[in-house]
């Protein structure tokens, strides 16, 4: 396993990406960043620019307006970049599955490395998701996450 990937597993910088959630998952992500949970123990830092992101924390069921934007932001990330689906909505569209404006679920567009179920998930679960996604990277070893497909 490459040294740089090993280092990536030790310093996953997270980028918070809300794709139209009910906002509760976003609040839980912000909770996970507070001193009480101290994600810096695992080397996580919240970054503001997608270029610096190692882990995309995607919340919410993507709707037709946000799908192209999510793919664009994923394209802006420097690879290798991991994707963590936070909350029932991001995992499977949750209760908005049959909504008129909701398209396909997140994992039909992007390679998702960890699913964090819950509505909303606890901050501890989100941190566990990030750490586990970094471990997935260890197992995958050499290969980089695939590029997203083109959107029409």
């Amino acid at each position: 396993m490459k040294l740089t990937l090993k280092a990536l597993a030790k310093s996953p910088w997270v980028y918070h990406l809300s794709t139209g959630s009910c906002n509760n998952c976003d609040i839980e992500v912000l909770d996970a960043l507070t001193p009480r949970f101290d994600i810096e123990r695992f080397g996580c830092v919240l970054v503001g620019s997608a270029r610096h992101a190692d882990v995309l924390l995607v919340c919410g069921s993507m709707n037709r307006k946000t799908i192209p934007r999510v793919l664009e932001i994923y394209g802006q990330c420097a690879k290798p970049c991991l994707v963590v689906a936070v909350g029932g909505c991001a995992c499977s569209r949750g209760m908005f599955k049959d909504s008129y404006n909701v398209g396909d679920p997140l994992d039909s567009y992007l390679p998702v490395h960890a699913y964090v179920p819950g509505c909303p998930p606890k901050p501890e679960a989100i941190i566990l998701g990030v750490v586990k996604a970094a471990e997935v990277l260890k197992k995958l070893g050499k290969d980089k996450p695939a590029d997203p497909p083109e959107v029409e």
Partner: protein, 316 residues
């Protein structure tokens, strides 16, 4: 022969490798103290090294609208400038025969210039990336440089006057060894107090992290950087975190001295104390606006430094 020594000095001992490793360790101290102030556990010891190695392995994305040449060269120039600054500052402390001829009359001025180059590189890098947020960050950084450079240079004039108008680092260090630290006199105290916020702004730490205010302009000049160039910028910041407080220790606090255990411990304590002071200032203050920062630098530190210069001329 002496050329080989100089190359070793630049690349390994007081230069790149040493400054880089110590700088990354010091950025861990900074992060750990921050974490303790916020009642957290904080990152593991090697966290800055993980970050650096990780960034080396990430993809480098070149901006479409920008100037890739300047974009890639800016971080390299920044690291090089800090390396040379560190080397020059270490020459009088180490007092090695092979390096002694490198000290010359006017090296204090050279150090002041070299410590400004990282800010210029950040400005250039941000402006060349073609990103509106980056150029906003660059323009703020430029204003910040204009604001703090004058009080900083005035503060540095005080030790020069006290040591008899010599522009040489080694004579400054020798003067402080003979007559006690510059900051033991009233003029030195004023100048040191004026210089600390200037260093804070040079390191762009809160309350002067206006160029990279993440809540307003994402990451400022660094917004479009990724991969190895960003790693170099991180390294530059870490090295500056080592070199900039060390400059203050050398100019005001009686330099550093590594013969004997007592002296070594005292030197390290002086440096770490200053670093922790900077970190505590960073953690107990909110971010200023750029106009407030300029107003601040052009009143309080400027007047303090001016007062210091006048007192030093009188001989206090």
């Amino acid at each position: 022969m002496s050329l080989i020594w100089i190359i070793i000095a630049v690349l390994i001992f007081p230069g790149l490798l040493f400054t880089g490793v110590v700088g990354l360790l010091m950025s861990w101290v900074d992060r750990k103290v921050t974490a303790r102030v916020q009642w957290r556990v904080g990152p593991p010891l090697f966290q800055p090294f993980y970050d650096f190695v990780k960034l080396l392995g990430k993809e480098t994305i070149l901006p479409k609208e920008g100037n890739p040449f300047v974009f890639l060269l800016a971080p390299v120039a920044g690291v090089a400038a800090v390396t040379v600054a560190s080397l020059i500052l270490w020459i009088p402390i180490l007092d090695w025969k092979a390096l002694a001829p490198l000290g010359f009359s006017g090296d204090i001025i050279l150090v002041i210039y070299l410590l400004t180059i990282p800010s210029l590189c950040v400005i250039l890098g941000g402006a060349s990336s073609g990103n509106p947020l980056s150029s906003l960050g660059s323009s703020r950084e430029m204003k910040l440089v204009l604001a703090y450079e004058l009080p900083f240079i005035l503060a540095i004039v005080v030790p020069i006057i006290q040591s008899g108008g010599q522009l040489r680092l080694d004579s400054l260090v020798a003067f402080q060894e003979a007559n006690g630290a510059v900051a033991l006199k009233l003029s030195g105290v004023l100048a040191l107090i004026a210089a600390i916020p200037c260093i804070q702004a040079k390191l762009t730490l809160v309350p002067f992290d206006i160029p990279e205010a993440e809540t307003e302009i994402i990451a400022g000049p660094y917004t479009d950087y990724s991969g190895p160039p960003f790693a170099l910028f991180k390294l530059m910041r870490a090295m500056l975190l080592f070199v900039a407080p060390m400059t203050l220790v050398i100019f005001f606090c009686g330099a550093m001295n590594f013969d004997g255990i007592m002296n070594s411990v005292l030197s390290v304590l002086k440096y770490v104390g200053l670093l922790v002071l900077i970190t505590v200032i960073r953690n107990t203050n909110p971010r200023l606006r750029i106009d407030q920062a300029m107003k601040f630098f052009w009143t309080i530190p400027l007047l303090l430094a001016l007062g210091g210069v006048i007192l030093a001329l009188i001989g206090l």
